[in-house]
């Protein structure tokens, strides 16, 4: 380790004596510390992951065999709707914001996030919003059952829970926008001297672009659901053809939000994988600038492909062609990223600790999700795939084995830095293999189900779909169980274990690894001097 970083650490230690972490419950309520808030986000996300997972278990249990055995169709639809809302807004997005909070200041040499009080508020809206959202399940009319996409006119048939759901979505949007503003201000304004934009770790880059997407599209979602609310309660006719509106107009506005939203849920994972693979390949990231440009291109393209989610609504031919071509173009920058990751591994010196295993699984399984995405882009074939289990398989490959595996890679990768302890590597590997096998048993057969003609969002199905559904359900239960092991591993690591070194991983590069493990409560109160040897994997001069 360079003398410089030792100096930084010494300084931080001295400073930490002045004010370390305060004690008690109110610490967490009033905290403005990016690490505390990061922890809050991550713990909340894990909780929501388990809640949303529980709903998935109900879904898979009902679909275990044909016929209705456990729940009635109304409740089934509430489960599919809530599962999506909880996983998207409660599990995946907060997990990424939590990682951003913990890591971005430490990766760019900043003392904290740019707007610490607002950072607190971004988090503390979430528990209230989710209390409101989840409470609708206990209302006499039940929760929302029209799918997380809330297409009218169906969503307008929702009972008393409707306004609560809309307002919960507003709150989640406010939280996301404030979190994103904070991330952008931190990255653009808080970098240590010498941490130029093109020296930033790729994770920071992907979050910068993600934050831009969030600020651009969350307000559009707010607008769309506001129109739903006024159509339902205040006589407007946005989505009613009799009044000159159009139900399909909602889908256009929603997916203008929705497509960037799916990239919001994957770009930070791209960043994580771009940190993890070079570390365990002990080799700099291949094509750093290409990675940055590819991420930016994907983000920009995400604004002009929204209608590929709705090819069957009957758009004019010209529109269908445009959205098909634009969607296919996305394969090019995405391909560049995949090729760059494989090239990073090529002639590296790889080891296979749990974070690397998740990253490798990510590359393969996300690519499979990408392939099915490309297939879905071909409109004539999409007329068959659309709204079937093929689509369900597709987006679970990109979101579970993509986003969630990315988050898990990140957690195993940085957990020693957060807690100061190594997690149990043996259990970590068991968790990985258990997850990666079960997740494929869970989702791969769903491709077949979709192709064979099983629509999404049905609680019961024709008997020819029975075998694959049973296999899928078994995979689902196994995958669900594996995540309890994950929660245990995290809990165990937080409690103690083998002490981690500052660098933790032999091949790790970047400012966060110059800090001791666990990272002190306050870090980089004096900006560090950036030494090329500490710059993350993009730098090739060394």
């Amino acid at each position: 380790m360079s003398t410089h970083s030792t100096a930084t650490i010494a300084q931080d230690h001295v400073h930490d004596d002045h004010h370390g972490a305060p004690k008690g419950l109110l610490r967490w309520v009033f905290t403005t510390n990016h690490k505390d808030i990061g922890t809050l986000y991550l713990v909340f996300s894990l909780l929501m992951f388990l809640v949303g997972g529980g709903m998935a278990m109900i879904i898979r249990a009902e679909l275990f065999q044909p016929g209705l055995q456990l729940v009635n169709p109304e409740f089934f639809n509430q489960m599919t709707t809530m599962h999506a809302l909880v996983m998207i807004f409660g599990a995946v997005m907060p997990a990424f914001v939590g990682l951003a909070n913990w890591m971005i200041p430490m990766m760019i040499g900043a003392p904290d996030m740019a707007l610490p009080r607002m950072n607190n508020w971004s988090f503390w809206i979430l528990p209230f919003a989710f209390t409101m959202l989840l409470s609708t399940l206990f209302m006499p009319s039940g929760g929302p059952a029209s799918g997380w996409t809330l297409y009218p006119p169906l969503s307008l048939q929702t009972g008393n829970s409707f306004a609560f759901v809309i307002f919960a979505i507003h709150m989640l949007g406010i939280s996301s926008i404030m979190g994103a503003i904070n991330v952008i201000a931190t990255i653009l304004n808080m970098r240590a001297p010498g941490m130029t934009l093109l020296r930033m770790p790729v994770f920071v880059w992907t979050w910068l672009i993600t934050a831009f997407l969030l600020i651009a599209v969350m307000p559009v979602l707010a607008g769309a659901v506001t129109m739903l609310l006024t159509d339902r309660f205040f006589d407007t006719s946005f989505f009613n053809a009799a009044g000159g509106g159009d139900p399909v107009m909602f889908q256009h506005i929603f997916w203008f939000f929705g497509h960037p939203e799916v990239y919001i849920m994957i770009l930070p994972a791209f960043g994580i994988i771009s940190e993890v693979i070079p570390t365990f390949a002990r080799k700099p990231l291949f094509g750093y600038t290409a990675m940055v440009y590819a991420t930016a291109s994907i983000a920009l393209l995400s604004f002009i492909v929204w209608a590929h989610h709705m090819f069957t609504v009957g758009m004019p031919l010209g529109a269908e062609l445009f959205f098909m071509y634009a969607t296919m173009v996305i394969a090019v920058p995405t391909g560049v990223k995949i090729f760059n990751w494989v090239s990073t591994m090529w002639r590296g010196s790889m080891t296979f600790e749990t974070p690397m295993l998740f990253a490798l699984a990510f590359v393969i399984l996300f690519t499979i999700g990408g392939f099915s995405g490309l297939m879905l882009a071909v409109v004539p074939a999409d007329f068959q795939y659309h709204d079937t289990y093929f689509v369900v398989a597709h987006f679970h490959y990109v979101l579970v084995t993509g986003a969630v595996f990315g988050i898990m890679a990140a957690v195993y990768y940085w957990l020693p830095k957060w807690t100061g302890n190594m997690y149990n590597e043996r259990l970590g590997k068991i968790h990985f293999w258990w997850s990666v096998i079960s997740v494929n048993v869970l989702f791969f057969p769903q491709h077949y189900l979709g192709l064979a003609g099983m629509p999404r969002r049905i609680p019961d199905y024709a008997v020819q779909f029975a075998d694959y559904n049973m296999i899928s359900s078994v995979g689902g239960f196994a995958f669900g169980l594996a995540q309890l092991l994950f929660a245990f591993i995290v809990w165990q690591c937080a409690r103690g274990g083998v002490k981690a070194t500052a660098q933790v991983w032999e091949g790790a590069r970047g400012l966060e690894w110059t800090l001791p493990s666990p990272a002190p409560y306050h870090t980089f109160e004096e900006p560090p001097t950036i030494d090329d040897s500490m710059v993350a994997h993009g730098d090739t001069a060394h």
Binding site: F30, T32, I181, A242, G243, G244, G245
Partner: protein
């Protein structure tokens, strides 16, 4: 505030112990849950909403009060100032996108949906089988004439006056900025007072126009797609003008107290940016909602 004691002006100011966000969360939840209850016809909805509003007001005074004290106390260096500026600019960008959703609805309905319902291009069969006889002329309340007959608000009456009012207010707020930069506190407060007056005058005229539309023109929120887009766009804009005018009022009192210097006045600038944003949105509204 342990940090205050050991504060070092060369360092980025990191506040500790923020009690206001949680108050804001409670307020926001009560306000929205109360609104939802009211929409569902619950009698306790309004009380819950008002409780929420009370919490939010307390939060705003507490939070901004603390920030003002820190700012006046010199805790914020130029880097903190930059963070605030970025925060405000990106917030305004998010507001632009929010209005974008409603402008998008207006354009989509007007350019695509209404002609389709009238049988143009893609909508031949829609018109032939479902809406025969519908004349797709904007403004419209749709083939079923939802909400009954209505007249539109002529662009070159009150809306034109309101346009001039907002444009003038953009000018006066710039004059205020100019006065601030020249350290003329009296002129600053006067120009701000003029801006606030114009802002509230706009809101007053807008309210008069709404009453006129509802009572005499038959134009309501329920007047099909025209009424929906008209009132949602102008209504959200009016709410933003009201908010902007309140913010300007606060800034005016702060200016009178001497909170701003020619070098350090982000609070003023942030609100001025917001005011210009509201102004620009109105120009879009005037052109696309009233004139075209």
């Amino acid at each position: 505030m342990t940090h205050a004691d050991t504060h070092n002006p060369d360092r980025y100011f990191i506040p500790h112990n923020a009690p206001w966000p949680i108050v804001g969360s409670i307020g926001m939840t009560a306000l929205l849950a109360g609104a939802a209850m009211a929409m569902n016809g619950s009698a306790s909805g309004k009380v819950t909403m008002l409780t929420g509003v009370a919490f939010i007001i307390v939060m705003l005074f507490g939070w901004f009060g603390q920030v003002v004290r820190e700012s006046v106390g010199g805790y914020y260096n130029s880097q903190v100032d930059t963070s605030f500026r970025m925060g405000m600019l990106w917030f305004i960008f998010s507001e632009v996108m929010f209005f974008g959703a409603f402008f998008g609805a207006l354009f989509y309905a007007r350019v695509f949906v209404v002609p389709w319902l009238g049988g143009e291009g893609h909508g031949v069969m829609t018109n032939a089988l479902l809406w025969q006889g519908f004349d797709p002329v904007w403004p419209t309340n749709g083939p079923a004439a939802i909400g009954g007959n209505f007249d539109t608000v002529p662009a070159f009456g009150v809306p034109l006056v309101n346009t001039l009012i907002l444009l003038t207010s953009g000018l006066t707020v710039t004059m205020a900025h100019w006065a601030l930069k020249n350290a003329q506190r009296r002129a600053l407060v006067l120009w701000l007072a003029a801006t606030v007056t114009l802002g509230f005058l706009f809101v007053y005229l807008q309210a008069e126009e709404y009453i006129h539309a509802y009572q005499e023109l038959g134009l309501t929120l329920g007047s099909g797609i025209y009424g929906s887009t008209f009132f949602m766009l102008t209504g959200f804009h009016g709410m933003h003008v009201t908010l902007g005018a309140i913010m300007l009022t606060v800034i005016m009192f702060r200016a009178a107290k001497g909170h701003f210097t020619d070098a350090n006045h982000f609070g003023f600038e942030g609100v001025a940016w917001y005011w210009h944003f509201v102004d620009v949105v109105w120009l879009g509204l005037f052109v696309f909602v009233y004139v075209v």
